[in-house]
C-alpha cells in the first residue's frame, strides 16, 4: 500500500535516488493528520520559558489548557511561566468583543502576580472577531508601567514557523530597554535554548569557563530584564534554526550584533560551537581554555560512551523532530555511537535545511517534511528501524509497532545537551533499544 497521498510525494526524498527537490514550509494538507501544531503553538513554545513574565492566552480555554506546564523548561527563580492564564472567552465575548474582558483580566493578573512584563497571545477567534489587542496592551502597559506585548499568533495564519516570528517580534520590543553598562566585551546571548532539564545552566557553565559573559538566555530560564539588556552583548549564538533566528536577524538589523549558528547536541557539534565562539572573540587565551574544556569534558564521558557504542553499533535510527537543525546534530550524534540514521524529517524545515540533510545522510535515507502517522509508521517498517527519536505524538507510533523510542521534544525531563547530555542521550537510546520487552511484541517474534 502506498502510505503517502499523491499530494505529499514531493515532500518525501530519498538521499541519492533523485535530484534533490523538496516541497516544504507550506500549509499542511487537509486530512493528512499532520504532526504539526499551529502559529499559536510556535509563539507559545518560544516565549514559554520566560519565567518572570505573565503569559496570557486571549481566546477560548483550549489553547491555554493544552499548553499548561508542558515544557521541561526550568527556572532558577520565579515560575510564573508554569501557570496557564486565559481569558476563557465565552459566547458573549465572541459576539460583543473580548477587549474589555482582556483588559480586566490583564489588570487582575498583573496586580496579582506583579510580572516584569506580559505577553498576550491572540488565538484563531481573536483574529476573526477583530479585537484590537495592541490597543489594550498599550493601555495596560501605560497604566501598569510594564511592557505588555501583543503576540499575533492566530492559529490559522500559517504554520509553527509564523508563530516563531510573532514571538520574535514581541521580544524585539523588549530588547534595547535595559541598561547595558558594565557588560564585558567578551559577551553573548544564548538564543534558541529552552533550558529543558537545566541544559542552559550547563551551557552557561561552559561559557563561564571560557571567560565569556552570558547577558541573556533567550529564552530558557529567561528573564525580562536580561532580554531588555540583550543589545549589550557582542554576539548572539543561535541554536534551533527556526525559533529564534528571526530575533537574531532583527538584532543584527537594529544593533549590528552578529550571530553564530550553534548546536549543543552531540559532542562534535557541541565542541565546534564552543570553538566557533572562541574564534569569534579572537582571543588566544580563550581558545586555549576552550580546548582544555573540551578535552576535560570528553575524558569524562568517553569511556562510558564507548561502551554504549559497542552495544549499539550498526543499529538503525529514525528521526522526526520539530526543527530540522536539531536533526543535523542528531545524525552526527548517532554516528558517534555507531548508529546509522535511515530516516529523518521535521515539521518546519526549509529547503536549505533539507538540502543539507541530503548532504550529510547516507544514500537511501528517507527525508521528509511535515509527515503524518501513516507515513512515519510505513518508514519505520520499511527501514527496519531500531529506535525512533521524536516527541509525544511520535512515541505511540513507535511503541505500537514495537520500536524503541527516545524523546527529544520540549516536554522531556532528561538533559540531552552538552557533553554530559550526549552521555544521557546514549544512555537513553541504549536503555530503550536494549530493553528485553521487544522480545515479546509481535515484531520481535519474527
Amino acid at each position: 500500500m502506498q502510505a503517502a497521498l499523491q499530494e505529499r510525494q514531493d515532500s518525501i526524498h530519498r538521499t541519492g535516488e533523485a535530484p534533490f527537490v523538496m516541497e516544504c514550509n507550506k500549509d499542511s494538507l487537509a486530512g493528512a493528520v499532520s504532526q504539526r501544531a499551529c502559529v499559536f503553538c510556535g509563539s507559545r513554545v518560544v516565549l514559554y520559558p520566560i519565567a518572570d513574565a505573565l503569559h496570557l492566552v486571549h481566546g477560548p480555554i483550549g489553547c491555554a489548557v493544552y499548553t499548561w506546564d508542558i515544557r521541561g523548561a526550568l527556572s532558577s527563580g520565579p515560575e510564573l511561566h508554569r501557570l496557564s492564564f486565559s481569558t476563557d472567552m465565552q459566547e458573549t465575548d465572541v459576539i460583543f468583543g473580548g477587549e474589555k474582558k482582556l483588559y480586566n483580566a490583564l489588570v487582575e493578573l498583573i496586580d496579582r502576580h506583579a510580572p516584569k512584563a506580559a505577553f498576550v497571545y491572540s488565538t484563531c477567534i481573536v483574529g476573526i472577531i477583530g479585537d484590537d489587542m495592541a490597543a489594550v496592551c498599550r493601555r495596560v502597559s501605560e497604566e501598569k508601567s510594564i511592557p505588555v506585548l501583543p503576540v499575533q499568533s492566530e492559529g490559522f495564519k500559517g504554520n509553527k514557523r509564523e508563530g516563531y516570528k510573532a514571538a520574535c517580534n514581541a521580544m524585539r520590543q523588549l530588547v534595547g530597554m535595559g541598561d547595558i553598562s558594565g557588560i564585558s566585551k567578551y559577551s553573548l546571548n544564548i538564543l534558541g535554548d529552552f533550558n529543558l532539564a537545566g541544559e542552559i545552566w550547563l551551557i552557561r557553565d561552559y561559557f563561564a569557563r571560557m571567560g565569556v559573559e552570558v547577558v541573556a538566555n533567550i529564552t530558557g530560564d529567561g528573564r525580562v530584564g536580561d532580554i531588555q539588556r540583550a543589545h549589550g552583548a557582542a554576539l548572539n549564538v543561535v541554536q534551533c534554526s527556526g525559533s529564534t533566528m528571526d530575533l537574531a536577524r532583527m538584532m543584527e538589523e537594529d544593533y549590528g550584533i552578529p550571530s553564530l549558528r550553534v548546536s549543543y547536541f552531540g559532542v562534535e557539534d557541541m565542541a565546534e560551537s564552543l570553538y566557533a565562539v572562541a574564534a569569534f572573540f579572537k582571543d588566544e587565551e580563550m581558545m586555549r581554555r576552550t580546548r582544555e574544556l573540551v578535552k576535560e569534558e570528553l575524558s569524562l564521558i568517553m569511556p562510558e560512551l564507548m561502551r554504549y557504542r559497542q552495544a549499539l553499533a550498526g543499529k538503525r535510527a529514525a528521526i522526526y523532530v520539530g526543527g530540522a537543525f536539531k536533526a543535523f546534530s542528531l545524525v552526527k550524534a548517532f554516528r558517534t555511537i555507531g548508529m546509522q540514521v535511515v530516516m529523518v524529517g521535521s515539521q518546519t524545515g526549509t529547503p536549505e535545511d533539507y538540502a543539507e540533510l541530503a548532504e550529510i545522510t547516507d544514500p537511501g535515507t528517507i527525508i521528509v517534511d511535515d509527515s503524518n502517522p501513516l507515513e512515519l509508521s510505513s518508514f519505520l517498517q520499511e527501514k527496519e528501524v531500531d529506535i525512533f527519536v521524536g516527541g509525544v505524538k511520535e512515541r505511540p507510533i513507535a511503541y505500537k509497532l514495537g520500536v524503541a523510542f527516545c524523546d527529544h521534544n520540549h516536554e522531556r525531563k532528561e538533559m540531552l545537551a552538552g557533553f554530559a547530555g550526549m552521555l544521557n542521550f546514549a544512555r537513553e537510546v541504549y536503555g530503550s533499544v536494549m530493553s528485553p520487552v521487544w522480545r515479546f511484541v509481535p515484531r520481535g517474534e519474527k
Binding site: 497521498l5 499532520s34 502559529v39 493578573l109 502517522p373
Partner: protein, 452 residues
C-alpha cells in the same frame, strides 16, 4: 463556610478542557470511525498530544487545516479536501466531524457543506458523515463528548423492529471501566450497545502493523438499531436534556430511559444493578453479590484509616458527584467539590449524594479553576486530593497525596486502566484511598512501623 472567592475575570489553570476534545474521544469509540476537526491544524495536534499522554496510544485526529485564506473566504474547500484525503488514506466507515471555535465563528455551514460533499464526491458511496457543533467558547469537553454521542444517535438511528438490546450511554469512562461495564451487562444476561466504546480503540495490544483505524468500538449497525432497544441506561446527573442521547431515543422511538448517576461507590452501583435486574429479569449474579460483599467487608476492615479524613475532589461534574458519593459512604469528609463545568446541576447533585452521610456539607463550586481551588483548599486542611493529574501542584504545595482518578493522568502510567465504576471499581478506589492515608501516616512517622 470558609472564605468567599472574588469573581475573577481571568482563568488560571483551568479545570476543564475544550469541547472538540470530548467530541474526538466519543467519535474514537465508534467502529471504523476517524475523528475530524474542522478548524486550524493546531487544535487536532494539541488534542492528540493531550489524549496520547493519557492513553499512551496513537490517536489520529484529522483536520481541515484551515489557513488564512480559508478563514476569510470560508473553510468549505478545505473541509471537502480533508474528507477526501481521510477517505482515501483511512478507508473509514464513518468520519465524525466536529467544528471548532474558528469555523463556528466564521460561520461555516457544515451541514450544507456535507450535503454538497456527498453530492460531489460520494455518488459511489463512502463513509458515513456525522457532524457535531462544538465551539469551545461554550461548555467543556464533557458537553462536547455528550454532543457527539447525541449527534451519532440522532444522525444514525433509524426506525427498527423492537429488540431485546439495552442501550448504554455511559459518558466519559476509562477503558477499564468500559470493559468492566460490558462484562457486567453480559454477566447479567443482557445484550447491550455501549456508545461510545473506546476500550479497545484507545487501549489496544502491541501490533505488527500500524492500524489505519484500530479494532473495536461500537458497531455502526448497533447504533442504527438503538431505536428498537428495550431501554436506554444513561449515566450522568448533570447532562442537559438537549445533549442527552437517551432523551432523543425516548422522544423519537419511545425507548424507556433510565437516567442514573455514574455507578461509582455502593449506592450508585446498587441502583445500576437494580436497573439491570429489572431489565434482565435475572437476580444479580453471584459474582457481583460476592464482590459487593467483599467490598463491604473491606470497608469495615479499613474504616478507621479513612474516617474523618478531609478530601478535595475535582474534575468532570458527573465523576466528582460519583466520587463524592463514595467518599461520603466510607466516612471521608469531602471538604471541597469543584468542577470547571457549569451545567447548573452540580450543586444539587452533590448535596443529594452526601445527604445523611457526610457530617458537614462540603463547599461545592462549579465553574472553578485550579487557582480558585487552591485558594480555598489551604484553609480547608485536606488530607488528600482526589482527581486527575493537574491537581498535583496543589497537593504537593500542601504536602498531601494526590489520588489519581479520571482524565487526564499525565504523570503516571495506566490512566486507561484505572477502574472507577461498579463494586470492583469501588474496591480499587477504597484500597487506593486507605493505602494513601496509611502511607502518609507511615511516611511521616518517626517510628516507621511495618504493620498498621
Amino acid at each position: 463556610m470558609g472564605k468567599i472567592l472574588p469573581n475573577y475575570v481571568s482563568t488560571t489553570n483551568a479545570c476543564k478542557l475544550c469541547k472538540p476534545l470530548g467530541a474526538s474521544l466519543a467519535f474514537r469509540g465508534v467502529e471504523g470511525a476517524v475523528p475530524f476537526l474542522h478548524g486550524s491544524q493546531g487544535c487536532a495536534t494539541y488534542m492528540r498530544r493531550y489524549i496520547i499522554s493519557h492513553f499512551n496510544e496513537p490517536i489520529d485526529i484529522a483536520s481541515s487545516s484551515l489557513g488564512e485564506k480559508n478563514a476569510v473566504y470560508g473553510g468549505g474547500a478545505n473541509l471537502k479536501l480533508g474528507l477526501k484525503n481521510v477517505t482515501e488514506k483511512y478507508h473509514p466507515a464513518l468520519i465524525g466531524i466536529a467544528t471548532t471555535c474558528l469555523t463556528e465563528t466564521i460561520g461555516d455551514d457544515v451541514k450544507r457543506l456535507l450535503f454538497e460533499y456527498r453530492r460531489e464526491f460520494m455518488q459511489d458511496g463512502g463513509p458515513l458523515l456525522v457532524r457535531v457543533s462544538t465551539p469551545s467558547y461554550s461548555g467543556t469537553h464533557m458537553e462536547g463528548f455528550h454532543a457527539a454521542v447525541r449527534a451519532l444517535v440522532e444522525q444514525l438511528t433509524e426506525a427498527t423492529e423492537a429488540n431485546s438490546t439495552v442501550n448504554i450511554l455511559p459518558g466519559f469512562l476509562s477503558a477499564a471501566d468500559l470493559r468492566s461495564l460490558k462484562e457486567i451487562v453480559a454477566d447479567c444476561g443482557l445484550t447491550a450497545t455501549v456508545l461510545p466504546d473506546f476500550s479497545e480503540t484507545l487501549d489496544g495490544p502491541a501490533l505488527r502493523d500500524y492500524p489505519l483505524i484500530p479494532k473495536g468500538g461500537t458497531k455502526i449497525g448497533d447504533i442504527r438499531a438503538m431505536g428498537g432497544a428495550k431501554a436506554t441506561v444513561e449515566f450522568g446527573h448533570t447532562m442537559p436534556e438537549q445533549l442527552s442521547g437517551g432523551k432523543y431515543l425516548e422522544k423519537a422511538y419511545g425507548v424507556d430511559l433510565h437516567r442514573l448517576g455514574m455507578p461509582v461507590g455502593i449506592r450508585e452501583t446498587d441502583r445500576f444493578f437494580e436497573v439491570l435486574r429489572e431489565l434482565s429479569g435475572n437476580p444479580i449474579p453471584e459474582k457481583y453479590a460476592m464482590a459487593r460483599g467483599r467490598l463491604v467487608d473491606s470497608l469495615v476492615d479499613g474504616h478507621k484509616y479513612v474516617f474523618g479524613k478531609r478530601a478535595v475532589v475535582y474534575g468532570e461534574e458527573d465523576l466528582v458527584i460519583g466520587l463524592t458519593s463514595f467518599l461520603a459512604e466510607i466516612g471521608v469528609q469531602p471538604v471541597l467539590c469543584a468542577s470547571g463545568g457549569t451545567s447548573g446541576g452540580f450543586v444539587r447533585a452533590i448535596e443529594k449524594a452526601v445527604e445523611g452521610f457526610a457530617v458537614e456539607m462540603p463547599l461545592i463550586h462549579e465553574g472553578m479553576d485550579f487557582h480558585e481551588i487552591g485558594e480555598l483548599a489551604g484553609e480547608l486542611r485536606p488530607d488528600f486530593f482526589l482527581g486527575y493529574s493537574k491537581g498535583y501542584a496543589l497537593a504537593r504545595g500542601l504536602n498531601v497525596p494526590l489520588i489519581r482518578v479520571g482524565f487526564p493522568i499525565h504523570d503516571r502510567v495506566g490512566g486507561q486502566r484505572l477502574l472507577h465504576i461498579g463494586y470492583h471499581g469501588a474496591q480499587q478506589l477504597f484500597d487506593l484511598i486507605a493505602n494513601a492515608m496509611i502511607a502518609a501516616k507511615q511516611d511521616n512517622s518517626e517510628v516507621g512501623y511495618s504493620y498498621m
